[in-house]
Symmetry: C2
Subunit: 216 residues, 2 copies
DNA sequence: CTGGTCAGTGTGACCAAGTCACCGACAGGC
DNA sequence: GCCTGTCGGTGACTTGGTCACACTGACCAG
């Protein structure tokens, strides 16, 4: 069974390119594993087939900010930056849910970029999307208040009105500090918008949350 | 005279691609002109031959942050994002020094991407560099203090120990507010590190400035 | 040489948010 | 049961962004 068929965006690849990619074997990565660290040299282009990988920016104080999540079918663009732009890189990629992924080595990647138009499209689209989402992160960080970012985060990531995440994790997602998140969550609980348990946030009043998310 | 020769990175282009680009005429853009606004559809790929274009992210409060400057030989990557990734875009590009630039229309751009390997390299490198610099902006905004960012900015942009810029402009460059910049500059002047005039900052003690820039 | 206008700057009060240094509370393994 | 580590809560403090002004010099029209 070809894994290429599973990767949205690569499914319509030309036969030559498919054949070339099919020679590569997917590998599995357990939750918590770091794919690369700041300053590390990059081995190739990573495509995620299953699970999820989060890419962080880590600050000197140890605080870190979620840049974006790589979902199945998407690729970890960061890994190609060094390959193309030169500079070394201060991000970090961590497997968040047990993942299956393919690492396309440098040579294969460059060859495919040369020969396959569809592959180029795939890579370019990936780049463009990452750039967009990084701009959004920047925008939110610079211009919106913590309360609004928090509300957005809860709405986006909750499943069935429930978000399983520690305050520290939420803080990372919205680029803030744990204490600040704790206080804001507390305030929202007192207002009756949420209910808090250890490691879990229950949304009780989504409408108010939407309102907060949109204000500023 | 071919303008292509002037654009670093495009100079070594294959003859076919060169010929194609040479049919395009450079246009001039006066200082202050906006190349594109938030939400605008993009016409093509922009290469800057002379002058400088600054790309900003504008917040709802009117405050804006400098994402990066496009110098001669470089291209304004933002313009291609819509072309590839889809989403609309909330940045703004303003000509900062009278500029000469070439606009490669969508069709030509796509055709070149298809046929010319060197052109692809050029575009990719441009992408990677912008992404890197945006990461740096994000990093500084999230993790370093205003004083450090200010010092870095002064050191990087001063020519012969002199920076011609208003406090408001400096604030935009470092992603802060004018009042904050005024106060910090004031403090540095009182410490004897700077001398301030209207629209001009003179650096008196670069060593101390370097020290401040590196601390946090 | 007025007086008006405007960009650039100075200032104080206030609020939002990050930091530091804790402590308490709970869960799971032994 | 107890210990250990993660999770969450809290107060004091500092930094930085916002608001609402007042001040100043440059330049221009009258």
């Amino acid at each position: 069974m070809s894994w290429v068929a599973d990767a949205a965006g690569l499914a319509t690849l030309d036969p030559d390119a498919r054949a070339r990619l099919d020679r590569l074997s997917p590998i599995t990565a357990p939750k918590g594993m770091a794919l690369f660290h700041p300053g590390e040299t990059v081995k190739g282009f990573v495509v995620v087939l299953a699970g999820r990988i989060d890419v962080f920016l880590t600050g000197p104080t140890g605080r870190d900010i979620l840049l974006y999540a790589v979902e199945p079918g998407q690729s970890c663009v960061q890994s190609t930056l060094g390959l193309l732009g030169g500079e070394d890189y201060s991000g970090e990629a961590v497997v968040q849910q047990d993942a299956e992924l393919v690492l396309i080595p440098r040579e294969t990647f460059l060859a495919l970029m040369k020969t396959s138009e569809r592959f180029r499209e795939y890579v370019f689209t990936a780049f463009a999307q990452r750039m967009q989402s990084m701009m959004h992160v920047l925008e939110k960080l610079a211009f919106s208040r913590v309360e609004a970012r928090l509300a957005q985060c809860l709405l986006e990531r909750a499943e069935g009105g429930v978000l399983r995440a520690t305050h520290a994790e939420i803080a990372t997602m919205i680029g803030s500090a744990r204490e600040v998140v704790s206080r804001r969550l507390d305030a929202l609980e007192k207002r009756g918008v949420l209910r808090l348990d250890r490691g879990v946030v229950h949304i009780k009043d989504a409408a108010t949350l939407v309102h907060i998310a949109e204000s500023a």
